[in-house]
């Protein structure tokens, strides 16, 4: 049952072979056993989860079940969840019980899904290894000496270790795709504007996008059906006809044109990753796809551009955490400014402070034009690169991350090395495009490798089709670590 697809679980629930209460209980039991060692969850609240499960059972009994009714879903702790501690991985919010539900959480509630717990994450989603969390690092279920990736490392770990059938994540520069790759699961970052940001604690507003993390493309599609939708409370939310993201899963790939950016297959990529990705692409050729080399010439600038824009927005977004109205306040202070200083000095971790400083600097008088404006122009060029590439291909493929999961502590003292682990994912956020990572095999030390599939705007159904067809002929997504 732990390795069942969402569709299978839904069928079991519908046939009354199992109740949501039993299903939820089973996953809670697994979390009880595994979470102390892997630290995937910041908050587990069995009582609240089981109450939701009982409500779901009533929905099923009264014939009002929807596809995800009764299915346990882990929520990244960046989504405000009414009555739940919502920390964003930070000491700053270590006492914050949200009085309201995020748009995404609301949609899962309406769908009758069960919140199985709030997952660990890099503090305010700033990190690529989950080591910046105030609640301690998450361990990779394939190898507990390795990082799970980040920032959605808790969600990736929870799904990979089968503590949850599926989870939500958020992706600002790769925070869904990179941990999905490092933990051997599937994760999709949708087109910017498809998933409501209301109640999703902002890191970099123009880049942040929520999305699903699950074992397979099919599961991701079912999750996406729940998550996508216009939200009037988010001015950047897009008003579009609802679509069924499972509708194209079964389409054959004959004639698909896969673009391979030459900038993605360079010496920076580790051999094991390169070999695995090439094998995956060979599999696609067998499925009838053709490959064509494309170029994304400005991709090399994506990391520096990102580390101007994202910190700029973050420095302003995080100003509200001032110890005045909620959240952490230093126990002792002399006056107002001292309260701000001490509350923020004690409430934020090192990486968050580093980015607030960078962001404050690049927005400062005299530097704004040289950094912020310049970076915005390059951001536009990167979007144009993709537009050009998509004239020659239907889909772009490459590695999700240049390496397999690195060891805990390996890069935590070298921020630039850490930032480079998102080199292949960041440009997608800058352009606002949808992209997915799916498991494609294993590299060094038997650690998972992810294949990144990038689509054009609103091409989620196509990306999922491409991923699903691969998963029909391979079983990497069914591989399960043995964390016990």
């Amino acid at each position: 049952m732990l390795n069942s697809s969402l569709k299978q679980l839904s069928a079991l629930l519908a046939a009354r072979k199992i109740s949501s209460t039993e299903l939820t209980g089973a996953f809670l039991e697994r979390s009880r056993a595994l979470n102390p060692a892997y630290n995937a969850f910041i908050t587990i609240n069995e009582e609240m989860s089981l109450a939701q499960a009982r409500a779901a059972d009533m929905m099923i009994a009264s014939g009002r079940a929807q596809p995800l009714t009764g299915i346990p879903i882990a929520q990244k702790d960046i989504f405000c969840t009414k009555g739940w501690l919502t920390t964003c991985g930070s000491r700053m919010l270590s006492n914050f019980i949200s009085p309201y539900d995020a748009g995404v959480v609301e949609r899962f509630n309406i769908a009758g899904a069960v919140n199985i717990g709030k997952t660990n994450m890099d503090e305010f989603a700033m990190g690529s290894s989950n080591e910046t969390s105030f609640y301690g690092p998450v361990k990779n279920p394939w190898d507990s000496t390795a990082v799970p990736g980040g920032s959605s490392g808790g969600s990736a770990c929870a799904v990979a270790a089968r503590m949850a059938p599926a989870a939500t994540g958020t992706d600002t520069g790769g925070s869904i795709r990179q941990p999905a790759a490092l933990c051997g699961i599937s994760g999709l970052k949708p087109t910017y504007g498809l998933v409501s940001r209301y109640g999703m604690i902002a890191f970099a507003s123009s880049l942040d996008q929520g999305g699903p993390m699950a074992k397979s493309a099919e599961d991701v599609a079912l999750m996406l059906n729940v998550m996508v939708g216009f939200d009037v409370r988010d001015s950047t939310s897009l008003q579009r006809e609802p679509e069924d993201y499972t509708r194209n899963l079964e389409k054959p790939l004959e004639g698909l044109r896969i673009g391979l950016p030459k900038e993605y297959f360079v010496k920076e990529i580790n051999d094991d990753v390169a070999r695995t990705v090439e094998a995956a692409i060979a599999e696609y050729r067998k499925l009838g796809a053709k490959t064509v080399e494309v170029s994304l010439p400005n991709t090399k600038l994506s990391v520096p551009v990102y580390y101007v824009l994202a910190p700029a927005e973050a420095s302003s977004n995080l100003s509200r955490f001032d110890g005045v109205r909620y959240g952490y306040r230093a126990p002792e202070y002399a006056d107002l400014n001292d309260m701000y200083r001490k509350s923020r000095a004690q409430g934020f971790g090192a990486e968050v402070k580093r980015r607030i400083l960078i962001g404050t600097y690049v927005l400062s008088h005299g530097y704004y034009d040289a950094y912020y404006i310049q970076a915005q122009k390059l951001r536009r060029l990167m979007a144009l690169d993709f537009a050009e590439a998509f004239k020659q291909c239907d889909i772009i493929m490459g590695p999700t991350s240049p390496t397999v999961a690195f060891n805990l502590g390996e890069k935590s003292s070298d921020p630039v090395q850490m930032y480079l682990s998102d080199a292949y994912t960041i440009a997608v956020n800058l352009a606002g495009l949808p992209a997915m990572s799916i498991p494609a095999g294993f590299g060094k030390n038997n650690r998972p490798v992810g294949l990144q599939i990038i689509g054009n705007y609103f091409a989620e159904a196509q990306i999922l089709n491409v991923a699903h067809q691969y998963q029909l002929v391979t079983d990497w997504h069914m591989k399960m670590p043995d964390p016990l």
Partner: protein, 497 residues
């Protein structure tokens, strides 16, 4: 040496929307602290701003009324600074591309005893949200924060430094105050802070082409304070310069109790607000059809109405300006003229004179005047047709006022049968009708001549004053009800016989 004072104003007009500019919370004044602060106003983690269309409508209205350019797209920007009553740690405002750019306001200024028109150019008008309030009293070494005001929509209207005296600045502020109320975008309530001014003041030698260093005086919430603060500040700067000193660019506060301005912060410690476009709000596109829709709801503007009053009603510039001081008086006046189109000047005199006086005594304004334009017009018609004299009319109007004063109904909201013929009722009941019967008047004149032979002799000896005394006697005998013109005519004729 002659000094010239140079003034530019930044006016914050609170827009009259029901809800806040980026949240659904109410903007009503006077609620219990923080009762009208929702999650967005509190800046909870994860909340997002959504622009209130009504605030944009009002900004467009102002833009059209001052002949400014409506920008599309227009951009919202974050102004970053820390303060406990600024929940997000930034204020959403506009920096580059405000909703309105340019435009002007024409004001009536008095110079060398003569009224003339002056144009004050506007730099821009931009939308922004208000902050909350910090309450320093009552909390024993702590500060209370009330976020009810946080997120209230403001339109900041920035003028060029086109004013040359505190009096001009006050006239401009009053004209703008009347304009924002006229077009219905702001209630103008200065006590509640709905209309506040910051004044940029500098001085220079008469004729110099470069501007002096300016100081900004913050938060002036009455026209009197605006005038006094500018006067004080100009004096202060002139004294410094005449003593050989230089002006430091500063932000200053006016203390009405001491009638002086005090330095708040200088340019050196001015903050870097790190403005950047708010990524939570898309560029605001204002279509031609949106502008057209707002334009169609725009009333005739005071300037246009003033010109029409002068042209169509033959009023003086002064009268036309007084009758267009706000929409309520102009509306009332036009309703009176509608009933008595033959004499707009008489209507003007009464509206600006007696009726304004009565309202003033009651602390009321024309919008809730209990005396209806029809009632007033009937009274004025009785003057015109000679039924009563102007003097009696004043007496009748006083009685009419006493009758309607305490009723709750106003001329716009009547609750029962109208006594539109109130003037006639009073004239009739008290027999105030003028004696126009020439036979009766001739009889009275005869009696007065017989009883005042001394005055008659004086008059015949050429003393004009004696004639007036005789008229007075006739009027007295008639208990004031005689038609004065007729009395004059009969008296003259009789004495000449």
């Amino acid at each position: 040496m002659q000094w010239e004072i140079v003034i530019g104003l930044e006016v914050h007009a609170q827009l009259s929307t029901q809800s806040k500019i980026f949240s659904g919370a109410s903007t009503a004044f006077g609620a219990a602290p923080n009762a009208e602060a929702c999650g967005v106003d509190l800046a909870l983690p994860g909340v997002l701003p959504v622009l209130n269309r009504g605030a944009v409508d009002r900004a467009i209205k102002l833009g059209l009324a001052v002949g400014g350019k409506i920008n599309s797209p227009s951009i919202f920007a974050r102004k970053n600074y820390f303060y406990p009553d600024l929940p997000k740690g930034y204020q959403i405002s506009q920096y580059e591309l405000p909703v309105v750019e340019g435009g002007s306001v024409r004001i009536q200024v008095r110079q060398d005893g003569e009224e003339r028109e002056k144009t004050i150019r506007l730099v821009r008008a931009h939308l922004e949200e208000d902050a909350g309030k910090s309450l320093h009293e009552d909390f024993h070494g702590m500060t209370g924060i009330d976020l009810n005001r946080a997120g209230t929509p403001l339109l900041e209207i920035v003028s060029e430094p086109d004013m040359r005296s505190s009096a001009e600045a006050v006239v401009y502020a009053k004209t703008l105050h009347s304009l924002v109320r006229w077009i219905g975008i702001c209630d103008g309530n200065m006590q509640e802070g709905s209309f506040r001014c910051d004044a940029n003041v500098s001085v220079r030698h008469q004729g110099a082409d470069r501007l002096g260093t300016r100081c900004e005086i913050k938060n002036l919430n009455s026209f009197r304070f605006l005038e006094k603060a500018i006067d004080y500040e100009a004096r202060r700067q002139i004294e410094i310069l005449e003593d050989g000193g230089t002006i430091q660019q500063q932000t200053r506060l006016y203390d009405p109790d001491k009638d002086e301005t005090r330095a708040m912060r200088s340019k050196e410690d001015a903050q870097d607000y790190r403005y950047f476009p708010d990524p939570d709000l898309l560029p605001l596109e204002i279509s031609e059809s949106w502008i057209a829709e707002v334009e169609s709801g725009l009333p005739e503007l005071p300037q246009q109405m003033r010109a029409r009053f002068e042209r169509d009603y033959g009023l003086s510039a002064y009268d036309a300006s007084a009758l267009t001081a706000d929409r309520d008086i102009s509306e009332y006046y036009e309703a009176v003229v509608e009933k008595l189109p033959s004499d707009p000047k008489l209507c003007a005199n009464w509206v600006m004179g007696d009726i304004s006086g009565y309202l003033n005594d009651e602390g009321k304004f024309f919008d809730n005047c209990p005396l209806s334009p029809t009632q007033l017009a009937q009274l004025l018609t009785r003057i015109k047709d000679g039924t009563i004299s102007g003097k009696i009319a004043k007496e009748v109007s006083r009685q009419m006022w006493t009758k309607v004063r305490d009723q709750s109904a106003t001329w716009k909201r009547r609750n029962s049968e109208l006594e539109e013929n109130l003037a006639d009722q009073i004239i009739e009941a008290q027999g105030l009708k003028q004696i126009s019967d020439s036979g009766a008047l001739e009889k009275l004149v005869g009696e007065v001549i017989a009883a005042n032979s001394k005055s008659v002799e004086e008059y015949k000896a050429g003393k004009e004053k004696a004639f007036n005394a005789l008229v007075g006697q006739v009027m007295k005998a008639a208990k004031g009800k005689a038609n004065p013109a007729q009395v004059n005519e009969i008296l003259k004729r009789t004495l000449a016989e």
